[in-house]
Symmetry: D2
Subunit: 348 residues, 4 copies
């Protein structure tokens, strides 16, 4: 009953196999092998336009290098207060963009409120060097609260960004989970709504290590290849990332895995909704649930082998003093039996 | 007949298998799983003392983060002119250490000359803020010239560094190749000769992506864990690096693979030594050879399918106008037949 | 009627004279002249202990380099939301400390609330590399809201910082104004209350360019001299900063100038308190007032030659729709006649 | 007999007076006062075209920020081995440009050899991310060896830079000394020969602190104003820099001061040329001389009150074992009597 994080899951067998298949023989290094080129082509197919794809080692790297690539002095990157770049990356975005500030914007359920975003941006008057300057907007899809921006909500954020000519970045550590939740195409959820670059995450959804930064305007990437190398993020044997992504993308495996993860979260949510001893803090849309439990109940569940994290209580949420907030994450590897076992344990 | 680089080789079957074995099931993320702990223990065993081990994505990352961890303002890192940190990392060591300068020291055959090193360090007078200050010394083992520092040569470099209290880093991208060339133990080639930290490379010797920074004084690493995270180098599913290294280290597979690579280089060297149409530019000790060929010969070899790189001619090397310098690299995956085929092609 | 900022004032005649006196002759450069040494001694006298003093070019430099000197990766510097480091330095503290984050703490009247500070620090659990780590606390004295922390309030902030071993920095751009407002000694307002380093500002109070970073534990400054030089903040002809500070400090000129500036603000406050067409947004303690005026009134005042800035309205302040918030700053150079002229203009 | 450095000199009386004149009254801060605008206009007049001028605190800042403004990842800045940016700035250019490397180019008498420069640039192949990329060229005028590039020599360097589209920066810490040595106009020595930006130094030539970065293509400076602010180099009371420069530039005072300094060096050189106990290491063109003395002689001169520095002996210079190399610098403040006294002391 492991609901701690989707990065506690391993690798999907098809992806493991693909790596084994790629093991023998020689191939050009540093992203120039035939397989690398093929996978780049897959990305362009999936996104229905020419894109530039750069593999990096971690989601933090994808976010940080993407934002660094549009850095200007005194820059402010607008993000949700709970965004990974703001809360969980140990200052990497600030470091790689040389001191850019993550400017936190509030909004319910993990989503930036476009009006608040607009208001915060509006406070920066062009030419006021003391205050600094707006640099970029980044949104997380699916959000850290387990919710998913609708296409219209993405467009609304995008509109605010474009009004000030700010590039729009999407942190897609759980891109596939959001995509299947919306039933949208990759193009619809990104560049067709004004997203300029995407941190495309495969690791949480069945890969071992497959993170890519996708640029939707390949003509504008400048010397990003140098930036990645200087950031120590250029793998030599890139074929092994490509091999993972080949298996991940072909035959829509990635969407199937995400559908499974979301379905498991849904099954869990339904069970919790029917329970007397647990309730959802808010509705999730993808593969993360935030659940209110009595502390005793949480302890009892953990004693029975359930693994999940305590979560900081947002100020908007009112809990009884003997209650706590907990995060449950499902993944491609979550078995229905684990879900049902957890629900039975709650019922007990 | 691929002799371009050892990073054109794939992965050894035992390492591929180990990854497949690690694929199913759940495991704690970010370096805290049982397998991660086990592999850390293996490192301590192999080095015969408690060490701290941090996985990173690339050799450039291992070098850069290691040097960054001992950074001070105005710092100079002394390295050989041809060192990877100086010639092939696009300024990553400078970037991560915030402007530290790679101070190039000459020396024959890719090895720093200890007297020249001492002379360059001596030019920095404590307190002269204009000139900056010595910060660290780094040596590459095996060197970029395919040679290997003897244990005494390492000790000589170390003595110079210690006389000014400078930490000594070793770039071990080809650590195993050097180790078996010397017939030394890992301890003898590192901390017993004064090495304080090591970039331990597994990728070039049969792994897919297995690079680690090893600290020999674990009590002095400060908040390196934060530095790595901020550098976007903390993998989430670390078990997959550990799985590679488990297979790599157990049963001395790593040493066997390096022995094979070195033996192939030796076989190649012997053949070239006996040839009329090729000669070694200098004697190599590990798995890289530097060969002088007539340009016509090089072209003919490539036409027959041989892959190898042109190499910049050091000023100390005198070539005829129709000759060029070429680098040949062997690896765990180099078959004797390829070597012999290449030698026959030269003879033809 | 210039109330825009104390940096619109020029230089006090005694300071101008001191510079002229220092103009002829030769003197050792880079902070080693007899006059430089003398002024360092003055600082130690004034603060009643040995201190280390480093001149820099701007208050932003003093703040940024001070904080940079205690930087660690993923570091968070806790400051008031309106602090200069957070609101007016274009990311310089983040840049010089390589990505440290300014972590804004709320509190009424420009002062950090110690309980909120403690709560925010408490959210960082040692060893959680994702969240980063607390690095320093900085308070501004006098604050950006024109208020002054009492000695007990400083001690309360200090206590919270020390409980987590965080160094405490004071931004003293208006140090003298705060000092005379409290009637405290420099020692009492700093190290006797746990302040570890101070940005000592002379520019706003009658100098041309005299900013210093003062360390109260000179044994712990490491290689700060290198950090300053690398930051391009080491003046060559330091005697001219020293000359300003000699005149500034001797005979308590600095305190007299600050007393005058504060008295002018007080005179203005009294007049505004008695007025029907203006009111104070809150009580100021030093040389800055925040005043609520009808927009029409503000416009009329400006038409009569008054110069002052609009100010963002804090969310805690309720204004009528035809009102605005304005900042008025007095300085050593403010004449009583200007104050009275302004008050008459309001009355009209 | 102070020949240690031109920054040991004080301030010229006319400049001191100008500061006193600027002391009273209020003026807009941060470079927006009438005087600031006037001085910007003077620069455009002097350079015979519209220029953008940014004051900074130090020559190191002017160099570092100028180079930082054209920074790209993995960048190499080509400079002479003895250039200030390479030898005397504690890594500031690397820090502000985030790890750019100072790539040292040799050349006789402190001047880069254009052919060597071309050869070094040629080693960087576009797209080779490992090696990094050329970013800028910087030359020092007058050089650190006391020589002056002729207009043709500047054009030759410029041509090499332009062939690779590299911006050309000039470190003009001793700009005036070079200018009067050549008898050229400011325009002829800069943009008419392809210089894109200039560190214009006034401090060494009679100001207290007056350094400016001059851009000859004001339309291409992007958000340099933010870069300067983020670098903590934006003075608040800029009128006091402007006041110095107003006096410095008006009536060609700056050229007169430089002519005097150069004349004193010339007088010194003539005397040394006629001496039996001293000789010039090479011919200087401006206000620095490099002199070979027996160590005994140097000691005796110092005993008589002469102040000058030992200088590192270039490998191209052959000295007897009892000889040393010494630098003598004259300035606007050097009296002929001091020169003659020194020459008499040598003769004695």
């Amino acid at each position: 009953m492991i609901f701690s994080s989707d990065n506690w899951a391993g690798a999907h067998p098809a992806i493991a196999e693909s790596l084994v298949k790629a093991a023998p023989g020689f191939a050009a290094a540093y992203g120039t092998s035939a397989l690398d080129r093929k996978v780049e082509g897959l990305f362009s197919e999936i996104f229905e336009r020419d894109v530039a794809v750069f593999f990096v080692a971690t989601g933090t790297a994808a976010n940080s290098l993407g934002l660094a690539s549009v850095t200007r002095p005194g820059g402010h990157v607008f993000c949700h207060t709970e965004a990974h770049v703001n809360a969980d990356e140990c200052g990497a975005p600030e470091f790689f963009s040389l001191g850019a500030r993550m400017a936190a914007v509030d909004g319910a359920f993990g989503k930036m409120d476009p009006q608040k975003l607009a208001a915060q941006i509006a406070r920066f008057q062009p030419g006021n060097v003391h205050a600094g300057q707006p640099m970029a907007v980044t949104l997380t899809q699916a959000t850290e609260a387990g919710t998913v921006y609708s296409l219209d909500e993405i467009a609304a954020i995008s509109e605010v960004a474009k009004a000030r000519d700010l590039p729009l970045h999407m942190d897609g550590a759980r891109f596939a989970n959001a995509l299947v939740a919306l039933g949208a195409t990759p193009a619809e959820m990104t560049w067709k709504r004004g997203v300029d670059m995407l941190s495309f995450g495969g690791t949480k959804n069945g890969c071992w290590c497959a993170e890519a930064l996708v640029f939707f305007h390949p003509g504008e990437i400048g010397d990003f290849a140098y930036l990645r190398k200087r950031s120590a993020q250029l793998f030599s044997k890139t074929r092994f990332v490509s091999a993972q992504l080949e298996a991940y993308l072909e035959g829509d495996l990635w969407l199937d895995l995400a559908r499974h993860a979301n379905a498991m979260a849904s099954r869990l949510a339904t069970g919790i909704g029917a329970s007397n001893s647990a309730r959802l803090a808010w509705q999730g849309d993808a593969n993360e649930l935030f659940v209110i439990l009595k502390s005793d109940t949480a302890e009892a569940l953990r004693a029975k082998g359930a693994v999940f994290y305590d979560w900081p209580v947002p100020s908007s949420l009112m809990l009884d003093s003997d209650e706590g907030l907990y995060r449950l994450v499902t993944s491609f590897a979550t078995a229905p039996e684990e879900v049902d076992g957890f629900l039975q344990a709650i019922a007990a």
